[in-house]
């Protein structure tokens, strides 16, 4: 088979897949551990649960050397600017795991100082539920993130802005609701 018979894009796609596969199996976590979830994160990284089986054992405490941020624990309003600055300091491509009930939703700490979910202020790729989650759950989250990296590819923010296609229902329009009410139409069932 002559080389000229292969379409141009085949070679590129294969290279992307290879890059995605290597990146997915060599994640460098940045532990942002603020509470008891951090203890489970340490247990996950150490010998018994052995995160190195999944190629993600090299925890670096400098955001410049990481591509996966694991937010483990509650984040208060005094800590949030720190979290955002660390996220911005990480080089692209990068991912974020929100680990535990507090990082995902604020958990039981529905008080004046605790942020109700870090996904309000930084992009989050994977949510790990639990209070705190067992190491197996975190490993399941990392495996799911590896699948996501392989499927969606490694891209930076600028490429993401170009690639993004609006998904789901259209954004809520308050004027439309008023029009429907005034026109006495039947409202669709909303979740």
């Amino acid at each position: 088979m002559a080389v000229k018979d292969i379409p141009d894009n085949v070679f590129m796609t294969t290279l992307d897949a290879a890059a995605n596969w290597s990146r997915a199996n060599s994640l460098w976590p940045m532990p942002f551990a603020t509470a008891c979830c951090g203890i489970e994160l340490m247990a996950t990284a150490s010998s018994r649960f052995d995160l190195s089986r999944f190629g993600a054992e090299v925890m670096r405490f400098s955001p410049r050397q990481c591509d996966l941020m694991i937010v483990a624990g509650r984040v208060v309003m005094k800590m949030l600017p720190v979290l955002q600055r660390i996220w911005l300091q990480m080089p692209e491509p990068k991912w974020c795991i929100s680990m535990g009930a507090c990082a995902c939703t604020g958990g039981v700490f529905d008080t004046y100082a605790v942020v109700q979910g870090v996904d309000r202020f930084i992009p989050v790729d994977m949510y790990v539920p639990g209070c705190p989650p067992r190491p197996e759950q975190l490993i399941a989250g990392i495996i799911a993130l590896q699948d996501k990296v392989i499927k969606t590819g490694t891209f930076n923010g600028r490429e993401f802005a170009k690639r993004t296609v609006a998904m789901g229902p259209p954004p809520f329009d308050a004027d439309e609701l008023i029009r429907i009410r005034e026109g006495n139409e039947q409202l669709p069932v909303l979740n």
Partner: protein, 164 residues
């Protein structure tokens, strides 16, 4: 001589109210006599350690006339004796004299009471917020402040994927 006898002989007409529960000895002091009573407890009563300063908001509390109660927990490190001194301050502009000249531990504890309740301490060398961020304007442990805040916790810029 226990500290209660000492205070009774020193301040017979100061309006001190003593109460006991098991080994918990308390004395209520009018705001005007607070400095004298605490100075006497330190110099003559031997209470050389100020363990903690905290406050209580009695807003809408039954059978109370005063808004805030401020609590001083003292310890005599040579005898192990403890006492709790309580005084009351009111709106507007609740103010107390600072205990920093007597005990250096009053520095951060008074800052904490100021941060949470908005009670000012006159004579404090550096009275500013210690727990909440500097741009926070409310006093969160007051009873008229909502438990979930007034939206300060979500008043931050949002970083999206395409910006990061």
């Amino acid at each position: 001589m226990s500290h209660q006898e000492l205070l009774q002989t020193r301040f017979p007409a100061a309006g001190l109210v003593f109460s006991d529960f098991r080994d918990n000895h308390r004395v209520h002091v009018p705001k005007e006599r607070l400095v004298e009573v605490l100075t006497c407890l330190k110099t003559d009563g031997g209470f050389d350690m100020l363990v903690d300063i905290t406050a209580v908001d009695y807003l809408e509390y039954e059978d109370t006339d005063d808004r805030f109660g401020v609590v001083y927990v003292l310890l005599n490190t040579s005898t192990g004796e403890r006492t709790i001194v309580k005084t009351f301050v009111n709106d507007p502009d609740p103010t107390l004299p600072s205990m920093y000249p007597l005990w250096k531990s009053a520095d951060w504890t008074e800052r904490e009471v100021y941060d949470m309740f908005g009670i000012k301490f006159e004579g404090h060398p550096d009275l500013r917020r210690i727990l909440m961020p500097d741009e926070f304007t409310a006093f969160p442990l007051r009873k008229d402040y909502p438990l979930k805040g007034r939206g300060e916790r979500h008043n931050f810029p949002v970083i999206t994927r395409s910006e990061s």
